[in-house]
Amino acid sequence: MTNATDIAGLPGRRSSHGSELVLAGLGVALACVAPFWLNGYGLYLLTLTAIFAIVALGLNLLTGYAGQISLCHAALFGVGAYATALLTSKAGWPYLVSLPVGALLTTAIGAAVAVPALRLKNLYLAIATLGFGVVLQKTIFEWRSLTGGGGGLSLAPPTIAGHELGATGLYYLALAFLVLGLWGAWNLSRGRTGRALRLIKESEIAAASLGIHIARYKVTAFAVSAFYTAIAGGLFAYLVRYINPESFNVGLSIGFLSMIVIGGLGTIGGSIVGALFYVVVPELLRGIKDAPGLVFGVVLVMVMVFMPQGLWGMARRFLGRR
């Protein structure tokens, strides 16, 4: 047969993932030794970053890869927190059991949210998921006999095998879940689900004509994303040890979304960087009198105007890759 037109010297070949592995290893090593240098508040912030990074990983699968916007992730975060807290404190289950069970429960709710979402797009999807968030939040609020309603829920420190889990212990637990979550998200993004989701985002018709079952993949994306978010919620409940339905509002959902956009949509590293930005930058601005919100807003706008692909996307381009 005639060979195709010559294609010598094609630009933009993708390098292997070696450097990314090295970077991930360095990051984990640094995170492992960080508690030795940090005071209590610093450790709290780092744990919070790890927890938000788990949410961002899950949300990025849904929004960055599958192109589905969600404004109910704060509520799913809250359901995960309440489910874990109630199973541990009221049912007396071990923390390490109630955490995944609570997350699976939330996953079922996340999948149920996806069903009406199948036909909706963009802002319509945003408002529908916003509505689900409000419904879930109000349900926690109104189910006083179980959740304590607006009074919130105070929690005792969790125990693992009889040992009380202190701040450092909880940090390492969150870090372990983050590493597991990274591993899963990395596999998923490179496997058949990640590839199918990316084509669905590009063109649903093209995906369907390759035999991809769009509805099933969208529900899967919502479910996996809900699972990540709920695990993070279960960790968060025991980081703050007092949860209240008010804190799981739309503002937090928007915060989650801004994390993945600041970090970089559709990138794994961006989820981590975005969570770090979201937690650390306001802390750095705390000293500026009267204006932390102002400076944070300005920084947010500037990151978007100058790096619309997010910090991670920018870094990657700067390093001449992809």
Binding site: T193, E202, A208, L210
Partner: protein, 256 residues
Amino acid sequence: MGRLAIENVSVDFGGVHALKDVSFAFESGSIVGLIGPNGAGKSTLLNCISGITRPTAGRVRLDEAVLSERNASSVAGLGIGRVFQHPELVLDLSVRENLMIACHRSLGYGLVSELLMVPSVWRREREAAGRVADVLRRLGIADSADAEVRNLPYGHRKLIDLGRALLMDIGFLLLDEPIAGLNDPEIAHLTELLFELRREFGFGILVVEHNMPFVSRLCERLVVLDLGQLIADGRPADVLGDARVIASYLGEAADA
């Protein structure tokens, strides 16, 4: 061997008749051209076969299966491949990864094993990558397997779209303006390639195209649509000499 039959298909879009009572059938192994002036309903017909548009009346059958009752992904699963006029690819994935998308049915591993990347996932991914490499060689673009699609010329992107269909174990291939935007050497390559692929895989091809030299060289039969109606069906030489066909194209030329 299979038979794809369009039986009395009509499509209305809010009172506008995009297709009116169209019927014809062809076997796997044959190459049929679908021609007609702009707005004749060619793309609508392809969409009906692919399960993207539901006919208002009539049906599309693949042997005994009624395609017009199924959705697009299920139609694709029965072995109907579709190559779009503008290839819809994921621009920041490599050529290989884009083709791997088409292997998703045959990969068939579950979500949990994917999250944990168990060894069987590895093995199946490697097998699929092998099939992708074969197809890339077959299309003559094996060199660009690792290139990011955004850096490739348009002609290559169309070949990748064709490659995705080849990976799906198809009985019929629907091509929507396959040579639009291609240069002469690329057109010659594609013509040869389609003949060879047909011989090798034995599938039937239904091709929508405006370029008459290409169509008459490639197809052994032409079906002509005008204003949603079938006005001619036969061998290229006969059809292109048909008075009604000439009139419908002249009408378009006069409008343009």
